[in-house]
């Protein structure tokens, strides 16, 4: 049995169901990214775990103990909000020591722990500052230190980086990754940014409209999203509708051979795997370029082939012209089936 376990968790506000029969297991020390579009219920799920909201149905278990009736401050699960919410009336040191003080730890010990944590988030010597005197990134790091101070069994991070500048963001991703390596805390990070999930977590769960539609190793989710919802979210080159005829997938765009299941109705491919004008490969699909965008290093093209929108990314500096008709090749080993 796993360390943290969610069983058929359900939550509604007013008439609206926000989370529906969520099942999830985490081992001790695991790092999970919870990915999903805005409003899909990610924050709600963390709040249920932290005990700030109560579920309508289902169970939350931590190390076999059922948590449903345990109040938030006794759960040893710490939730880090999207905003840092540092107590404005306390110094940095007092903020970090807050949870320890609530646990009546001796002040000498608190002092020492605070210094350690400041070291860890690379803000040594800032003990006496007030939150207002810190930049947004520094505040976020202090909030992280404050959450770590109480050594929670489970750390929940709710989009801790999404309000920050890209530079600070990357550097804080580094801090979080390193902390997780060092402290091996069971961690869930919420994000709606795929690259953040990829950069941080081995495993990613995808929450869409209150249901978990995927729960896979992060790279696998990116490379081979298991179903249409996941594919739409992570973005693919094309989602092709069709049906199986023996071992062949037949579609508007032609026939594809591959290792698909017998009832496959959709197959997909990543945009960087589609080849343009590769005369050596067969079969080829004729498509017209309708838009292009330079991404730096790579060009992204939007193409149209038989009413199907196809996105292709190609490394290279000299772009192809808009309006041009090209031949596209879908390498069979890169095609994968999507569940519905």
């Amino acid at each position: 049995m796993s360390y943290l376990q969610l069983d058929q968790l359900t939550k509604s506000y007013a008439k609206q169901t926000i989370l529906q029969n969520i099942n999830l297991q985490l081992n001790q020390g695991e790092f999970l990214a919870l990915l999903g579009p805005s409003g899909s219920g990610k924050s709600t799920m963390l709040k249920l775990l932290a005990g700030i909201e109560t579920p309508d149905a289902g169970e939350i278990r931590l190390a076999k103990r059922v948590l449903n009736q345990v109040p938030a401050h006794q759960r040893e699960i710490v939730l880090l909000f999207q905003q840092p919410y540092l107590f404005p009336f306390l110094s940095v040191a007092e903020n970090i020591g807050f949870g320890l003080k609530a646990r009546k730890v001796a002040s000498q010990q608190i002092k020492q722990k605070v210094a350690e944590l400041l070291d860890l988030v690379e803000l040594s010597g800032m003990q006496q500052r007030k939150p207002q005197q810190l930049s947004g990134g520094q505040q976020q790091r202090i909030a992280l230190a404050r959450a770590l101070a109480v050594q929670p069994k489970v750390l929940l991070l709710d989009e801790p980086l999404s309000s920050l500048d890209p530079e600070i963001r990357v550097s804080l991703q580094g801090v979080i990754a390193r902390l997780h390596r060092e402290l091996q805390m069971t961690t869930i990070i919420v994000t709606h940014d795929l690259s953040e999930a990829l950069a941080l977590a081995e495993r990613t769960a995808l929450l869409i409209n209150g249901s978990l539609v995927a729960d896979l190793p992060s790279i696998a989710l990116f490379e081979r999203p298991p179903n249409r919802a996941a594919a739409q979210f992570v973005g693919v080159g094309a989602i092709i509708a069709g049906h199986m005829h023996g071992t062949t997938f037949e579609s508007q765009l032609g026939q594809f051979n591959g290792n698909f299941g017998p009832n496959t109705l959709h197959v997909a491919i990543r945009p960087e795997h589609i080849q343009i004008n590769n005369a050596a490969s067969q079969p080829n699909i004729s498509a017209q370029i309708i838009e292009r965008r330079y991404l730096g290093e790579r060009w992204e093209y939007r193409l149209q082939a038989a009413e199907q929108l196809i996105i292709v990314r190609e490394v290279g500096q000299t772009p192809r012209d808009i309006g041009q008709t090209v031949d596209l090749h879908f390498p069979p080993q890169q095609l994968f089936a999507l569940a519905d």
Binding site: I52, E76, V78, F81, F98, A102, R103, K130
Partner: protein, 288 residues
Amino acid sequence: MAKWRRWLGLAPASIIIIGLFGGSLGYGIAQSLGWLPFLGQRQLSLAAYRNVLAGEQLGGQWWQALLFSLWVSLAATLGSALICLGLLSSIAERQQQYRGLSTISNLHLAIPHSVWAMALLLVLSQSGIFARIGFGLGWLDQPSDFPVLVRDRWGIGIIMAYITKEVPFLLLIGLATLRQQGREYLLVAQSLGANRWQRVRLVLWPLLAPSLIGGSLLVLSFIFGAYEVPALVGVRYPEMLATMALELFLNPDLHARAEGMAVSLLMSLIILVVIGLAWRWRRAEQQS
């Protein structure tokens, strides 16, 4: 932005406040120094201040009134602040909008202090409505069996009148703070493991402190300087400074006006010093 436009914006209001108010304050100061032109007296001296602070008759009265004023205003202010804090503590985590509470607190602003004091008198005096109910229930036989709640020696009536008036006022101020930022901080604290009492003590109180202290200072200076309520629900002795000043103004002997003015100005000075100290203390707090 041009400098002259800045002063242009400030000028009209400043003329009223600094010109009219400052001018009349200057006149008041002159009066306290014995400039009483209606008596043909134009010589300045500190006699009025001497009389007030150390005079045979007024001196004793001043110090007694000062003590009583301090007692009443501090007790009423602290009482209101504590009650307000208690109420806010008990509801801070239960509610998000506080709509009803703030509407009702608002409506309290419509009742002026003097009107409220008159009502209180009718309800709480020894022959008031409560006493009559008590009599009707057989709890007391005559008015004097009912506790002395208004027009009492200790200013309980004045303090009660103020507390009931100022609690809604402070609630309004506290609620504004809570609505702005209260909930998230409390949730953070809870997630960090603080129990209910710790959340109230370690988070809610410090959060409310700046606005409540500010509001309390406003209340303190108001109570210290107002005479309507003590005149209505207070007694002749002990009296508050504001009533003492008023009495001197009403004295048929017009020379007493200098002393009356001196008392008023000394009162203003005291409250300014109190507020100034409190302000500096807050600043020192914030900087440390």
